[in-house]
């Protein structure tokens, strides 16, 4: 029987790595991720997990060692945050182009400077285009579910790509909540053993990571693009199977009281749970306000998104990072781009909230909804705005 236990979200992620029977973990300490790998190291030390734990000297070496382990056929996991993710940046591209299904949990944290250990999405937004599958968890249960799911999708031979599971640092990573831990034999039914398409094998030698001359570089990029876009099918299929085995459903775009909503808030990650009571209050007042949460960020689920917003008159997009000197919020700018060629184009209001751990209280969500309603009446969106800014 699955156990339902109170635990920190980081521990839930570590439990997912145990249930995946990971072979190699290479990691470097960084707040707020560290509890994940501490818990894994403890399970390895106590014999609850049969894995090699490589205590590397940097995140750059963490992802590099994961690549080395994955390329000989080992199931591989790492975890990081913020500066650590930025230090991996160069190698993240190569992990994807070598098609190695490394799974990484990212406890999202602000980037320096100034140094800030608290939550926003500036770390992951800087890694948007590295070619990994990327998802955002909303709570501890999702962090566990998505981590387990990540191995199945990444290792699917139709996919063979690394997967990044994002969950908010501190406001989610350090929250203790009830999490259902599946039994190992049930997890095994969901996740078959890792069988790579190619591996470094002395009996069948291959050369990997060759020089890509101009003659083939463009084609190799196209092939990588196609694999990531086509990963959508296996990703959704695996969620279907997850639902059948574990009884919990996951969707690329998760709606909350979104049916018939005229104003839809759009966000990613744990902030959505803070906005839900505000949506509830508006609904009690008879206002047609709802929320959608983008769970699958890469590949971006364009069709699901367009279906989800089909009835909305306005979208209030809440970003957690800034594109400096550009269009302000990276998520809002992608959404607007996705709508450009679409017949139904709701009005979009743009907010950046919760930078570097700044609280986003209910009142802030209320104001975002009010401003969006006003913009709808006036027919023109206001300029993008940073929420919670002290004047």
């Amino acid at each position: 029987m699955p156990k339902r236990l109170g635990m920190e979200a980081t521990v839930a992620v570590a439990e997912a790595a145990r249930l995946a029977e990971v072979d190699v973990v290479a990691a470097y300490p960084i707040t707020p991720q560290t509890h994940i790998v501490e818990h894994i190291a403890e399970m390895v030390a106590d014999g609850h997990m049969d894995a090699e734990y490589i205590p590397v000297e940097s995140e750059h070496s963490a992802i590099s060692a994961c690549m080395g382990a994955s390329v000989v056929g080992a199931r591989t996991f790492t975890s990081t945050s913020s500066q650590g993710l930025a230090l991996m940046h160069e190698i993240l591209f190569i992990t994807a182009s070598l098609r190695l299904p490394v799974v990484m949990a990212v406890a999202n944290r602000a980037l320096s400077g100034p140094l800030n250990i608290w939550n926003d999405h500036s770390d992951v937004m800087a890694e948007r285009d590295v070619g990994w599958i990327q998802v955002f968890a909303e709570n501890g249960q999702e962090a566990l579910d998505l981590t387990l799911w990540a191995f199945r999708v990444g290792e699917d031979k139709r996919v063979a790509l690394p997967v990044m599971v994002n969950f908010d640092g501190f406001i989610l990573s350090h929250v203790v909540e009830a999490v259902e831990i599946p039994d190992l034999d049930v997890a095994r039914r969901f996740l078959p053993p890792f069988e790579p398409i190619h591996r470094l094998d002395v009996d069948k030698p291959v050369t990997m990571g060759p020089v890509g001359v101009p003659d083939i570089y463009t084609e190799s990029r196209k092939a990588q693009l196609d694999r990531l876009v086509e990963a959508y099918g296996p990703a959704v299929e695996a969620w279907g199977e997850f639902g059948r085995i574990f009884g919990r459903t996951h969707l690329p775009i998760e709606p909350y009281r979104a049916d018939d909503a005229e104003i839809l808030m759009v966000m990613m990650g744990g902030l959505a749970e803070s906005a839900m009571p505000v949506v509830d209050r508006r609904r009690e007042n008879g206002e047609k306000v709802g929320l959608i949460r983008i769970k699958l960020w890469r590949p971006f689920p364009f069709d699901d998104f367009r279906r989800a917003i089909a009835g909305a008159k306005a979208l209030a997009v809440v970003d957690r990072a800034i594109s400096y000197g550009g269009p302000m919020g990276p998520v809002a700018s992608e959404i607007k781009a996705a709508l450009y060629a679409h017949a139904h184009r709701p009005l979009v209001t743009e907010f950046v909230a919760g930078l570097g751990g700044r609280d986003v209280p209910f009142d802030d969500f209320e104001r975002m909804i009010d401003e969006t309603a006003a913009a709808l009446r006036g027919g023109k969106p206001p300029a993008p705005r940073i929420v919670g800014l002290r004047e």
Partner: protein, 315 residues
């Protein structure tokens, strides 16, 4: 030396692993060293290679010179990649997912990929005790990008980023002593080697493969292109390097030093400098003191090596 040439011919019976058709320059002693090392290690070997000459000349897709599994990821992380390979193999064998067998895991990089940008990953990997062989092919500058200075460029060499000029001797710093730094990690086996001494090289490769932990080979790799030298001198210059003390051949086995090609009386340094265009400016009269000072320092360092070897004998 002539005797070594005869014995070297006997080494040729082994299977070629790093095959012909690669794009190394004429007279590339590094390519020769790669070939000798991999003939010795044989088929049960997996290589992680850093960005650099050897990566570029041996793997232009869809061609490859490698008959063994080989991977290139990036420039600075080769030791980290190799540490992952070693850990992956170890856990898969322990869990019964692949048959137990001895597989050499090799991390190979140039002097930039070892002593400069790859230094941290190297130090971390050998400190953690992974059973792997790290090979530094030292051609004493960034040759792949066009002869820029590295930490192992010798004093007085002219490179494109530390060029000799009216007011500069070129490289103003002393060659970083990588073997000593690696030896300070206390790993089981460290050696310098050179394709100009193939028998010595092969013996050291075998010891590195047998080591119960990390092993490090620092391999002299003459680069006629970067050193502005006739290609046919590539092997001869390696011998002069040893005889002048510019690149002594020794090993550190479990902390015990041994000079493997003893050179009790060092030759004048000018004999090493003269054939190489990178040192041409040092032959001028006004650079005599620079050369004399370098010669004294090489002699001092050689005597220190001799003392360490004598200590090991006495211990």
């Amino acid at each position: 030396m002539e005797a070594q040439n005869v014995i070297a011919a006997q080494l040729r019976s082994r299977e070629e692993i790093f095959t012909a058709g690669h794009r190394a320059c004429q007279g590339c002693a590094e390519a020769l060293a790669v070939r000798l090392i991999h003939e010795t290690l044989g088929r049960d070997t997996i290589v992680a290679c850093a960005t650099g000459c050897m990566e570029v000349i041996s793997s232009p897709y869809p061609e490859t010179s490698w008959k063994i599994p080989w991977i290139h990821v990036a420039f600075e992380n080769t030791s980290a990649v190799a540490s992952g390979i070693e850990s992956g193999l170890k856990t898969l064998m322990r869990k019964g997912r692949m048959p137990r067998r001895a597989i050499n895991v090799v991390a190979m990089a140039g002097d930039g990929g070892t002593a400069d940008i790859g230094f941290q990953a190297l130090s971390g990997a050998i400190e953690r005790g992974h059973r792997m062989i790290v090979v530094c092919y030292d051609n004493e500058a960034y040759m792949n990008t066009g002869v820029q200075r590295s930490a192992t460029t010798p004093l007085g060499a002219s490179t494109t980023t530390a060029p000799a000029g009216k007011v500069s001797i070129g490289q103003t710093t002393w060659k970083k002593n990588m073997p000593a730094i690696v030896a300070a990690h206390g790993i089981p086996y460290v050696a310098t080697a050179s394709p100009s001494y193939p028998v010595d090289l092969v013996k050291k490769v075998k010891k590195a493969a047998a080591a119960q932990g990390p092993a490090y080979l620092h391999v002299y790799s003459a680069c006629p292109t970067g050193w502005q030298m006739a290609p046919e001198l590539a092997l001869e210059i390696g011998r002069i390097a040893v005889k002048t003390g510019a690149f002594p051949l020794y090993e550190v086995e479990n902390g015990r030093y041994r000079i493997t090609v003893p050179t009790p009386k060092l030759l004048p340094l000018r004999q090493y400098l003269e054939p190489q265009g990178r040192f041409r400016h040092l032959l001028a009269k006004e650079r005599e003191e620079t050369v004399a000072a370098a010669e004294r320092r090489l002699a001092d360092e050689y005597r220190r090596l001799e003392r360490r070897a004598a200590d090991a004998d006495g211990a």
